[in-house]
Amino acid sequence: MAITTATVPKVGRNFRIQWEPAQDAYVLLYPEGMVKLNQSAGEILKRCDGAANIAAIIADLETTFNAQGLEADVIAFVELAEQQKWVDLT
């Protein structure tokens, strides 16, 4: 589906995101596998809780990191994440 700022992403049913101090990173865990996330991927994915839409996620990120103009990057990442089945979209 086409992703807009109204889309609500949620970390996929068979995935779990958690902070790993030993790796100093968020990781995405799934059956017999793990993806180590870079900082921006981790910050976006941990906000994909099935409640916040993309507009709210962007607003939260821009406030937290005192940044502007993140929309294109966030949407591009959510597109990639959906292809990988890391997130489900509603």
Partner: protein
């Protein structure tokens, strides 16, 4: 082994990453008798299994170092009555927990208790697509039971990996195996060609498929992917005997992988206990930190410092770390040699001879009776591989 102390001394501890993957082999006991089991051939000689408390210690210490993926395997892990308690502790510590089972012993009560304990995922093994072949290859009547286990796994909302070990006797059924995986609604399918360790090494000539069989199976798997998209994620693992470069075994010795055997030995891979002249530490007397960073068993083949020719000057040595130490020992009789799968190995002909034999259907070696994994056979054979 004269340069051993040097190889160990140059290890840069700061560069050794954590043991991200912990494989807890809870028991060697198993109701199945698979002819390709990777467990040591002499498993029946091993002594006491670790207690619940000892497993808690392993889980706690490995988690402190950064282990995060945890597999519960065996043998058949369902044979441990304390499986649920051990899984609950692993979940509490923050592991992603995987149960690798034949499905035997899984019932409504236990699968519910495992869910409650926080089990994240179940990998269910099948031996083939039909009752007749499944039951022949495992020397049990378990096919119907596995089908019921698959239904229970789905009903309880677990993601499911269906694993089927592939070899000469079932590789021609690959389409039916994929259909079975689709029927039971598996999210992931591992079509893992047999790797020749343990019991598979004993039965190697009977199990290695021909090149034609292998190419056909790969083609059918690719066609399935094209036709059905990625609803089921398919992994097709080729047998390394058909390669010219060795696999990057365990992603490198002592790099991310830590196996604990039922009797408490810590190993860099499932089969390393066969290697001669190398003492592997016991989790009862050593901490996981000492084991991972300081023990001779884990440092001996770490990195590239231990290598001999043709590996030490090979431009690809960082790609595959010289392949598998166990295969080097089994085939070249030297654990520090190049994996003979590599065509630069002076012993590569010992691989190609086996591969050549596999092209002749019905030869004398292939028609020998299969030897099934069992305690009686283990004691009779009385050898590590």
């Amino acid at each position: 082994m004269t340069d051993l102390s040097e190889a160990v001394a140059v290890q840069d501890t700061a560069k050794i990453g954590p043991p991200l993957w912990l494989l807890a082999e809870l028991t060697y006991r198993c109701p199945l008798h698979c002819v390709y089991c990777y467990n040591p051939v002499d498993f029946a000689k091993t002594e006491d299994e670790l207690t619940t408390e000892q497993w808690f210690k392993v889980l706690r210490e490995a988690r402190e170092l950064g282990s995060v993926q945890c597999g519960f395997s065996g043998g058949e892990p369902m044979l441990r009555d304390d499986l649920e308690v051990i899984v609950a502790e692993a979940h509490r510590l923050g592991y992603y927990t995987n149960l690798l089972t034949s499905g035997v012993g899984l019932n409504e009560k236990r699968i519910g208790a495992l869910k409650e304990a926080g089990l994240d995922h179940i990998q269910l093994s099948f031996q083939d697509s039909t009752r007749e072949m499944n039951d022949f290859l495992s020397s049990t009547r378990t096919f119907d039971l596995k089908r019921r286990a698959a239904d229970m796994i789905k009903a309880h909302g677990y993601p499911m990996v269906m694993n089927c070990t592939i070899h000469r006797h079932n590789i021609d059924h690959i389409e039916a195996i994929l259909q079975l995986a689709s029927d039971i609604d598996a999210e992931y399918v591992e079509l893992a060609n047999t790797q020749y360790y343990g019991w598979a090494q004993v039965n190697r000539d009977q199990l290695l498929p021909s090149r034609e069989q292998l190419e056909r199976a790969e083609r059918i798997t690719n066609e399935w992917r094209e036709k059905h998209g990625n609803k089921m994620k398919l992994f097709f693992v080729v047998p390394d005997y058909y390669e010219k470069r060795p696999k990057k075994c365990m992603n490198g010795w002592g790099n991310i992988f830590l196996t604990i055997t039922p009797d408490g030995k810590a190993l860099p891979c499932h089969t390393a206990r066969m290697l001669p002249g190398l003492e592997f530490p016991d989790v009862r007397t050593s901490s996981i930190r000492e084991i991972w960073y300081e023990s001779e068993g884990f440092n001996r083949y770490r990195g590239t410092g231990w290598m001999k020719e043709p590996c030490s000057s090979c431009p690809e040595k960082e790609n595959d770390y010289g392949g598998c130490r166990c295969q080097a020992y089994m085939i070249a009789n030297d654990p520090a040699a190049a994996d003979p799968v590599c065509d630069k190995s002076p012993f590569h002909n010992r691989i190609t001879e086996v591969v050549d034999r596999a092209q002749i259907a019905g030869n004398a070696a292939q028609v020998k009776p299969l030897i099934y994994r069992g305690p009686k056979e283990s004691l009779q054979l009385d050898r590590p591989f």
